[in-house]
């Protein structure tokens, strides 16, 4: 089965097409100037053209649903929805942090993917690797101190990855010491192929998402809602 993976949750506009256990083609474009909206559909078109495939030969679309950049996530999910709606394809939503941890699934350490959020906050989750990924701490939007407060008593090796660690490498080293292992943040961000593999797993289990109702996993309220709640609740 062929699955197209789409990820626009970070500055990278990222595509990965797989067939069963094989990667067929990948593409990563740095869309730094927030041009995901211009890049994404032409990139999908070119990707398929390169290996002479038609969109109707794809068996499902897997897309990263966040957390990440609100605008980026919506562009990716809207394009995925449009493709699935037009061709009656199954839609498979995958949390971005799961896809970031996916390549390390067989390493028997704690795995902590971290994405940048706003205002000195990060998005994170903690898995334990081994045979497969096992979630040990839930998705959070918090500051680095709160994350390290939970991790430092564990005294276990922890793999940190993602653009959220760039700023905090020294603080992490100070709190976690030698148990902290770092993965290059740039190389771990293009996750569309992992999204596609995780999407295929979901599809095999019959867990496709609803095209109408699937929404991004924002993990953070809009500023207007936060301010309104402070005022009235």
């Amino acid at each position: 089965m062929k699955i197209l993976g789409i990820d626009t949750s970070t500055k990278f506009c990222n595509l990965g097409l797989i067939e069963d256990e094989d990667i067929l083609i990948e593409c990563t474009i740095n869309g730094l100037k927030k041009k995901h909206s211009s890049i994404l559909v032409p990139a999908i078109k070119n990707l398929l053209k390169t290996i002479d495939l038609k969109i109707e030969e794809i068996n499902g679309i897997a897309v990263s649903i966040g957390p990440g950049s609100f605008t980026g996530l919506r562009i990716g999910l809207c394009v995925a929805k449009g493709l699935c709606y037009a061709r009656s394809l199954p839609l498979l939503g995958i949390p971005t942090l799961d896809a970031m941890a996916f390549p390390f699934k067989e390493i028997p350490y704690l795995i902590c993917p971290v994405l940048e959020s706003k205002k000195d906050e990060i998005y994170d989750v903690v898995f334990r690797g081994g045979v497969s990924l096992h979630k040990v701490m839930d998705y959070k939007c918090e500051d680095i101190q709160s994350l390290l407060f939970r991790l430092s008593p564990l005294k276990e090796k922890i793999i940190f990855s993602g653009d959220g660690i760039k700023k905090y490498r020294d603080i992490i080293k100070e709190k976690i010491g030698k148990d902290a292992l770092f993965i290059d943040s740039q190389l771990n961000l293009p996750v569309a192929t992992s999204i596609a593999f995780l999407g295929l797993n979901k599809l095999k289990k019959g867990e496709e998402d609803n095209i109408s109702t699937l929404s991004p996993f924002y993990l953070r309220k809009s500023e207007a809602e936060i301010i309104w709640e402070k005022k009235y609740k």
């Binding site: 032409p42 037009a86 109702t213 809009s222 207007a224």
Partner: protein, 340 residues
């Protein structure tokens, strides 16, 4: 063979989809409004609008197709608003439209929302032929445009501050009448005396075709505050009638002036405020004396909808003006720029 265009509109707080045949016949027209969601914030919150568009977009498109009795494979093209509007909101409709058009291998056409408001008139009035003068007036815009040919627009003037519809909303908010302010004002103003309070008519006798409503807004708010300070009774209907009259005097005066200057025998109204019955009546009265015809859409086509997007898309489709798949949303898209 007839051409079916799917129109999609998500530029502000309405998620809309429609199917129009040959640019004229509305087969289906679905609008999901977010008014009730933004009410508690007293206006549209962009991030919340984007999130709601995301939830509504596929159900709205699906309903439009379903009600039309047509299949997605029957479509000739997909037209979508790419500006002006809220960027996050625009991106939802634009992204879905591009993906659908690409996956169906049919043309994708980006539409200027303001241009579409003008086209809303063509859905109902076959006889309109350029050149004409068009007043586009809504909660987001107040622009006076001269149209020599379709696709060739000359912006004569626009508001320097608040849009006319926006001022209706703000006055209604000050008087605790709810949101949106236009329909409520119109209703309550009927019981008031329009000449009871002298509010200013900003820029009415100015040479330009520009508008300015913030001074009028301030004058009305100040008037209400003074009465409150003195613990006096607030004559809501008289205030609204006098305020509404001031707005309409300016809109009508400038539009008639433009029609005379450009020697056109047609005036077209477009946008949400074009639904105001007093505006319609007054401009017709003045225009009749000068032998000028006035056109405006039915009320449901004045406010944001996707039938007007599909209609504008049809004419571009016929001229083979399709857009590139890398078209981006443009928040401040002017009317004059050549559409891609």
């Amino acid at each position: 063979m007839s051409d079916l265009i799917l129109g999609i509109e998500t530029s502000c707080d309405e998620t809309a989809a429609a199917i129009v045949e040959d640019g004229k016949k509305i087969i289906s027209n679905v609008v999901a409004s977010q008014i009730s969601i933004h009410q508690k914030y007293g206006g549209v919150v962009p991030e919340i609008a984007s999130r709601k568009h995301m939830e509504y977009i596929i159900p709205v498109i699906d309903k439009a197709l379903d009600e039309s009795g047509k299949k997605i494979t029957d479509l000739s093209a997909i037209a979508v608003t790419y500006g002006p509007g809220l960027i996050g909101s625009l991106l939802v409709g634009l992204s879905v439209a591009k993906a659908m058009a690409y996956a169906q291998n049919i043309p994708f056409i980006g539409i200027n929302h303001l241009e579409a408001h003008i086209y809303a008139n063509l859905l109902e009035h076959n006889e309109i032929k350029p050149p004409f003068v068009c007043l586009i007036v809504s909660g987001g815009h107040t622009s006076l445009v001269y149209i020599r040919h379709f696709g060739e627009y000359k912006l004569l003037g626009q508001t320097k501050d608040d849009a006319a519809g926006e001022v209706f909303d703000k006055i209604a908010k000050v008087l605790d009448l709810g949101y949106p302010g236009g329909p409520i004002t119109e209703k309550l103003a009927k019981e008031g005396e329009p000449s009871s309070i002298k509010f200013p008519r900003p820029l009415l006798n100015d040479k330009s075709y520009d508008f300015s409503f913030s001074g009028l807004k301030t004058a009305v708010i100040y008037y209400i505050k003074e009465l409150k300070k003195e613990n006096k009774n607030i004559p809501v209907s008289d205030i609204l009638a006098s305020f509404q009259q001031a707005v309409i005097d300016v809109l009508v005066g400038k539009t008639i002036k433009a029609a005379l200057k450009f020697k056109t025998k047609q005036i077209i109204l477009a946008g949400g405020v074009a639904a105001n019955s007093l505006l319609r009546k007054e401009i017709k009265k003045k225009a009749n004396l000068l032998n000028i015809k006035v056109f405006y859409p039915s009320i449901f086509l004045c406010t944001d909808n996707a039938a007007m997007i599909a209609s504008a898309g049809y004419y571009k489709f016929k001229e083979n003006k399709k857009s590139s798949l890398n078209l981006d949303a443009v928040s401040r898209l002017p009317l004059e720029r050549k559409n891609q």
